[in-house]
């Protein structure tokens, strides 16, 4: 025991050091990883608060929150989960808002593959079409709606492969295992343009808008770091970053 | 009864046949395999030149071993005797050198005959029976394969039948059992029969009795003696037990530290004055003779050997049976006169050949000639001095105990 004492002392001295700034612990949908990191960096510089983020699929994060995960806010990939949380009394009523609207792109890692998206889908000139699981991911649902709008969903079904989320749908295409796939514009866009491969940005009217909602959770309602972060997300600085990554905002 | 078949039988050494029912010299139908015969005539026996260098162990042997009878490789553990046996079997790949059997090269710089192609039988210290097979399955395992391999060769060479092996080792009642249901002694008997069933031309036995207690040993030794009397193939018998060696060997190779110390016919080696020191209490000689007479009243047998006679306890052997007796140096005393008024039965004239030192400074070893056979006597140096023993001197020896083996 005597040997442990200096160690314990060191811990007890270190702990109070974190008191001076508030800390927020939030859960963020995986597709929003890149813009969120950029936003948090700016937010921490501007406010002095610190934010700890867990990225994951919305479904998993939702299940974890239901089962007592210590998150103070959720930035979901859809509207349904934040709504549910609000109904269940876990989400703070009135805190919910749409922080980003996703855009869908038919994309190929091959720089010449996608010139005319609808024509390509109709021609069937590809080995696989990768989409996110429509049951799980709003992007997947939007992909199916797009296929239906083009009237090719029947023809294409045998060539469909599904990623569990939009990140995996992208991975299948990026590794070349699927020639093309519906991915999030944010995954292939940097600084306002598609930086790799070729893509066709799906017009917004071909599918229901992919609204991503955020909600503050009961445990975070009195944490200034959380409330300030939500305000910050709706500010111009954050919106500029969000647009840069291929999302729209309200 | 025959001991090792005499070399004058006209049978080439390479055709070391197992002929349970025929005498060696009746063998005339084996002349077909001419080439092999010629080869084996050239270099009968086992030639083993082996060198191994391992950390903490080395083996450096260059020996020619006889093509007949039982050759014992004797030494303490670590002396290299088992390793030498494994080299001959082809189980030791690390060895370099040359192994030749009756003119066939089994190993040299260019040749390596793998174990399964060497015409050997091998008995391990632990029986090493296959637990997933019955006793009969174990016996058939090697037999089937040797027959398959030998198909091209003369089938007449399949002279040692499975039935005979079973009968010889007395395991007929065990055939349906699993090895786990056998006693240690039974297991080892099955293992010996299994080795014989492959029709080996050379039988290698690695301390087959060492893992057994005294009672089991006594159970198996008679079978080994039957083997010895029955088999015409050469046997290499590794052992560290002087009593086994005395009982079974015709030829003795003693080893120490990976090197051969002495090699020769058993009595030549046993009676060497420089070797008995290492044997200690077991120093002594063996003599081969014949049961000549039975004294019913006193339950004694007269063994005719060395142009003389020795009386031993009646073991039940029949008149005319071959008998091997062992005389330990410590049981032999020396006198100037044939003794009278003594309890000792066996008193023989002898001639002193040489005197040597024994392990203890108080003791001396005397090598004597008894009608052409060497006998060792151990006595105190004081007695030797008082008797004035010197080479060529005629004396009488008294033998306190003679063991019929």
């Amino acid at each position: 025991m005597p040997r442990l004492r200096p160690l314990l002392l060191a811990f007890s001295l270190a702990a109070p050091g974190t008191v001076c700034a508030e800390e927020a612990q939030i859960a963020v949908a995986a597709n929003f990883t890149a813009p969120m990191k950029a936003i948090i960096a700016r937010f921490e510089d501007d406010t002095g608060h610190s934010v700890k983020v867990s990225f994951g699929s919305t479904g998993k994060l939702y299940a974890q929150i239901q089962n007592g995960a210590p998150f103070e806010a959720l930035l979901a990939a859809d509207q349904r989960r934040p709504e549910l949380l609000e109904e269940e009394g876990v989400g703070v009523p009135g805190s919910r808002f749409t922080y980003a609207i996703g855009s869908l792109v038919l994309w190929s890692a091959d720089a010449e593959k996608v010139e005319d998206g609808p024509a390509l889908l109709e021609s069937g000139d590809f080995n696989k079409l990768s989409i996110a699981n429509p049951k799980l991911a709003p992007y997947g649902e939007a992909s199916v709606q797009t296929l239906e709008a083009l009237g090719v969903e029947q023809a294409i079904e045998p060539k469909l492969v599904m990623g569990e989320n939009i990140a995996q749908a992208y991975q299948f295409v990026d590794t070349g295992n699927a020639d093309i796939g519906f991915v999030a514009l944010s995954q292939v866009m940097q600084g306002g343009e598609i930086v790799k491969g070729s893509g066709w940005i799906v017009p917004g009217e071909m599918h229901a808008p992919i609204r991503q909602d955020a909600v503050i959770l009961e445990s975070g309602k009195d944490n200034p770091a959380v409330t300030e972060l939500f305000a910050y997300l709706q500010g111009e600085k954050a919106k500029a970053i969000i647009h840069d990554f291929g999302y729209e905002t309200e | 009864m025959k001991r090792a078949p005499s070399p004058s039988s006209g049978e080439p050494g390479g055709r070391a046949d197992l002929r349970p029912d025929s005498r060696p010299d009746v063998q005339s139908d084996v002349q077909s395999d001419v080439q092999s015969d010629v080869q084996s005539d050239v270099q009968p026996g086992i030639q083993a030149r082996v060198r191994i260098q391992w950390p903490g162990f080395s083996l450096d042997v260059d020996e020619r071993l006889p093509a007949r009878g039982v050759t014992a490789l004797f030494g303490h553990s670590g002396s290299g005797k088992t390793t030498l046996l494994r080299c001959i079997a082809g189980l030791e790949h690390a060895a370099e050198g040359r192994i030749q059997f009756n003119g066939e090269v089994w190993q040299d710089a260019e040749t390596w005959v793998p174990t399964h192609r060497r015409p050997i039988g091998y008995v391990f210290q632990e029986a090493s029976l296959f637990p997933h097979l019955t006793v009969l399955g174990n016996l058939r395992y090697g037999q089937k394969r040797s027959q398959r391999n030998a198909a091209a060769q003369d089938q007449r060479q399949a002279r040692f039948s499975l039935e005979h092996a079973i009968e010889l080792l007395g395991i007929g009642h065990l055939l349906k059992r699993r090895p786990t249901a056998l006693s240690g002694g039974e297991r080892q008997r099955v293992s010996i029969a299994r080795a014989l069933a492959v029709n080996p031309r050379l039988l290698l036995m690695d301390e087959p009795l060492a893992a057994l207690d005294l009672a089991r040993k006594q159970e198996i030794l008679p079978y080994l003696e039957r083997l010895h009397d029955d088999l015409a193939i050469p046997v290499l018998y590794v052992s560290h037990a002087p009593d086994e060696v005395a009982r079974l060997a015709d030829h003795l190779v003693t080893m120490d530290g990976g090197r051969v110390q002495a090699s020769g016919p058993i009595n030549e080696v046993l009676s060497r004055l420089d070797l008995p020191i290492r044997l200690g209490e077991d120093a002594g000689v063996v003599l081969d003779g014949e049961v000549a007479e039975r004294d019913e009243r006193w339950h004694l047998l007269r063994i005719a050997c060395c142009s003389t006679s020795l009386w031993v306890r009646d073991s039940g052997a029949a008149i005319g049976d071959h008998a091997r007796i062992r005389i330990l140096a410590r049981d032999v005393s020396i006198a100037h006169q044939p003794s009278r008024g003594t309890s000792i039965l066996n008193s023989l004239p002898a001639r002193v050949l040489s005197l040597g030192e024994d392990a203890h400074p108080a003791l001396a070893l005397v090598k004597l000639d008894v009608a052409g056979n060497p006998v060792l006597a151990r006595l105190t140096r004081r007695s030797a001095e008082e008797l004035g023993l010197a080479p060529a001197q005629s004396v009488w020896i008294q033998i306190k105990a003679v063991a019929l083996l």
Partner: protein
């Protein structure tokens, strides 16, 4: 019906995948285990470590590497395309390849242990009884290590049934082709269909327990040793 049609389809696919994988691993894993058990080569360590890698490697890592190497730009993908097989991801045989890698240690290690437990002696005895190396393997080593093979087979099968990460990475979630039970459960959970998830999960749970029960209750004839 207790389970939906797609559930049954997923279960049938899972069992098919596990059976095929186990059979292939018997053929592939046995020589590796034999070599590992007998060699004194300096490659024994590295190869043993490589075989054990899936034990510690996250399935997502293995799955990702498989996705990349079996893709059109990967070496395996190039070979399969050149052979006219096409690309393996999103196919049943792609899953089989992934499962074979993923379950390799579960086959190799018990069999290797069994081979090692035999020791040299029975094989040497067989050699002196005229058995060639191949003969020794089939007539002595195999029967003596049968308990190891049973253990390895059950573990491999069960482990493949429980496989998720690799299938997720290279499967593409195609019903009847690559959507195995574990992925189906994951989908249910993600889609908040907890009732369906519970039912299918319960089936897997009971199945896995029964398999392990057989394994632990089953005792080879120890007396033989």
């Amino acid at each position: 019906m207790f389970l939906t049609e797609t559930d049954l389809e997923a279960i049938a696919l899972t069992l098919r995948l596990a059976s095929v994988t186990t059979l292939i691993l018997f053929a592939v894993g046995t020589p590796i285990a034999w070599w590992l058990a007998r060699t004194h080569s300096r490659w024994k360590g590295p190869v043993g470590a490589l075989v054990a890698l899936p034990l510690v490697l996250p399935p997502s890592v293995l799955g990702f590497y498989l996705l990349v190497t079996m893709g059109p730009n990967g070496p395996v993908g190039a070979v399969t395309e050149a052979l006219g097989i096409g690309l393996l991801p999103f196919t049943f045989w792609g899953l089989v390849v992934g499962s074979v890698f993923y379950s390799l240690p579960f086959m190799v290690q018990p069999v290797q242990n069994a081979f090692e437990a035999i020791g040299e002696r029975p094989l040497e005895a067989a050699a002196t009884l005229r058995a060639s190396p191949m003969d020794r393997f089939f007539s002595v080593a195999l029967p003596l290590s049968l308990p190891g093979f049973v253990t390895a087979g059950i573990l491999t099968f069960a482990h493949t049934v429980g496989e998720f990460g690799v299938v997720l990475m290279i499967g593409g979630n195609i019903p009847g082709l690559t959507r195995v039970a574990s992925v189906q459960i994951y989908d249910y959970v993600e889609a908040l269909e907890y009732g369906n998830a519970h039912r299918l999960a319960a089936v897997l749970l009971v199945f896995s327990f029964l398999v392990l029960l057989v394994l632990y209750a089953w005792r080879p004839d120890r007396k033989r040793a």
